[in-house]
């Protein structure tokens, strides 16, 4: 209840902090060394979302210069030297810099850093999935805004993007990569969130995050974004009542409520913009030097020194509720950032060959290397999807998802089992835990030792004479449970154990507790 009031009013957040109700993860002091880093590898994106919090479509049109590959390599190396344990790799669309994105994720994950990788899924093919599947501790967060193409494609502004996202998720799941499907909820698609949850469950997605729009960046130019978080929580609860908890559902507040704690809760991580500028996070448009020019260590020192700077406190303190975010004189990602330390910084020019020379090359006529202000800048037009019969389209989408999920092959994780046909006991080698399966659970488990969910449905039909729909539905449900418990995993997964959940840190992440 208190958390919900904090979502509606920043004053409540501040009051609760004073009364000692502090989020469990909140830090009162900036740690000597950063815990994590959010790396925005590129401004560019191939989609045209009207709510894009990083305002990437505008940046794509402007071709805003960004760091070269070598500069990013150095930034990542310095962040590792400082000891980060978690990272968010994002954009824009990070796979527009495909090799760099893969290399950065591989470097971080190989060093033991937990990685959340944000992508729209368009460019995720079998090769990308296989390279990510070879790593531990990586979760791909893939944007999907609905259970059918017309909802997603109109939201994302590019026809074909729903299909690419769904196929990208299938590639990732087939390679054993941890996946979180992220649904940005708007008044246009809020009524179909229940269908979306069903579809992600059928597809085999282990984690879904449902998030209202954070009114930063492009969203702050206008539009109606408000949706009922209470209704979203109800939809999630109804789904869990029907399908159980094998698929984790997070309903994100996405109100920017952490701004209420500016000056109180200290940052534990930093964000690097595509031009190298360092900020505390996505919500606060204040910079503390440039990682490529000044070095990550110096930027972190500046952030430790200045995170509760009076200018930031005044800016955040002027906002009383989430609705004030787009009305502020300074809106994150829409307006130029204010330098708190390090002065005005320009991005080092990106080397054409990707070798990336560095240096503070301020571009003429720009501030912070950006064209001045984003409020009146042109943005690319969305391409509307073709008109369709929504009911027929939904049926078609459900079939596509069932076919993809039904064809995915699984194998057993390292385990032993004992018992009889009626009941079996399974011991998982990964964590030594025990499971009890009934007879039909055993039938599905056996079918998934090298087989598919479609094979499991056939096995149930054959043994019990079930009709096709019932067998299909029960096979999916059992497969989800067996995956969640770590009994089965994607057959092509390179590791020996099921994918681990990674980290997440997106704007609007509400303080817990």
């Amino acid at each position: 209840m208190l958390t919900r009031r904090r979502e509606e009013s920043f004053a409540w957040g501040r009051l609760l902090w004073r009364l000692g109700h502090r989020p469990t993860r909140a830090l009162t002091e900036c740690p000597e060394r950063p815990i994590g880093a959010k790396l925005e590898l590129t401004y560019a994106c191939n989609l045209r979302c009207g709510f894009c919090y990083t305002d990437s479509p505008r940046r794509t049109l402007q071709r805003t210069p960004e760091l070269g590959d070598d500069e990013w390599r150095r930034v990542v190396g310095e962040a590792l030297e400082l000891g980060i344990v978690e990272a968010v790799v994002t954009g824009g669309e990070p796979f527009l810099r495909r090799e760099l994105a893969l290399e950065v994720v591989e470097t971080l994950a190989t060093a033991g850093v937990g990685v959340a990788l944000n992508t729209n899924g368009w460019f995720v093919d079998e090769e990308i999935a296989a390279r990510l599947g070879a790593l531990r501790g990586v979760t791909a967060h893939v944007s999907v805004d609905g259970a059918q193409a017309s909802l997603h494609d109109s939201s994302r502004g590019v026809p074909g993007s729903w299909r690419r996202a769904i196929e990208g998720i299938d590639h990732l799941l087939s390679a054993g990569v941890g996946v979180c499907a992220v649904h940005v909820v708007t008044p246009g698609n809020a009524g179909a969130v229940g269908d979306f949850l069903e579809q992600m469950w059928t597809l085999g997605v282990p984690w879904v995050r449902v998030t209202p729009v954070v009114v930063n960046g492009a969203a702050a130019r206008g539009g109606e974004w408000k949706v009922s978080r209470e209704a979203l929580r109800r939809t999630a609860a109804e789904f869990e009542k029907r399908r159980g908890t094998a698929m984790r559902i997070t309903v994100q507040a996405a109100t920017g409520g952490t701004l209420s704690l500016q000056g109180r809760s200290a940052p534990g991580s930093f964000l690097v913009r595509p031009n190298g500028d360092v900020r505390p996070d996505s919500l606060r448009p204040f910079t503390f030097g440039n990682a490529a020019r000044d070095g990550v260590d110096a930027c972190w020192a500046a952030l430790r020194e200045g995170w509760d700077d009076e200018r930031i406190n005044r800016w955040a303190g002027a906002m009383k509720k989430p609705g004030d975010l787009p009305k502020s004189e300074l809106v994150a990602y829409l307006d130029d950032e204010i330098p708190v330390a390090g002065g005005l910084s320009g991005p080092p020019r990106r080397d054409e060959g990707g070798s990336g020379e560095s240096g503070p090359t301020a571009l003429s006529g720009t501030r912070n290397g950006h064209p001045p202000g984003g409020r009146d800048a042109p943005v690319p037009e969305k391409t509307p999807p073709k008109p369709v019969d929504p009911a027929a389209e939904l049926l078609e989408a459900e079939k596509k998802v069932r076919d993809l999920a039904g064809a995915r092959r699984y194998r057993h994780a390292p385990l032993r089992w004992s018992g009889s046909a009626r009941q079996r006991f399974v011991r998982l080698a990964g964590d030594g835990s025990y499971l009890r399966l009934n007879e039909s659970g055993g039938v599905v488990m056996d079918a998934l030792d090298g087989g598919t969910v479609a094979d499991a449905a056939s096995a149930l039909r054959e043994r019990y004479g079930l009709d096709e729909a019932r067998a299909g539905e029960d096979a999916v449900a059992a497969a989800r449970d067996l995956q969640k418990r770590g009994v089965v995993m994607a057959a092509s997964a390179i590791g020996s154990f099921p994918a681990e959940p990674g980290t997440t840190d997106l704007p609007g992440l509400e303080p817990s507790g």
Binding site: S420, A421, R422, F425, G432, S433, Y434, L435, R436, L437, N438, E439, S440, G441, G442, V443, V444, D446, L460, R463, Y464, L466, D474, A475, A477, A478, D481, L482, R485, V487
Partner: protein, 33 residues
């Protein structure tokens, strides 16, 4: 399993057994002397 007559159908059930780190049916305390 195929040789056994199937029981009446019940939906698949996968239940975690909370063992608190102990073996489930083998007492770790009984060591042959």
């Amino acid at each position: 399993m195929k040789n056994d007559a199937p029981t009446p159908y019940e939906p698949p059930s996968v239940e975690q057994i909370d063992t608190d780190g102990e073996p489930i049916h083998t007492s770790p305390g009984q060591v042959a002397s």
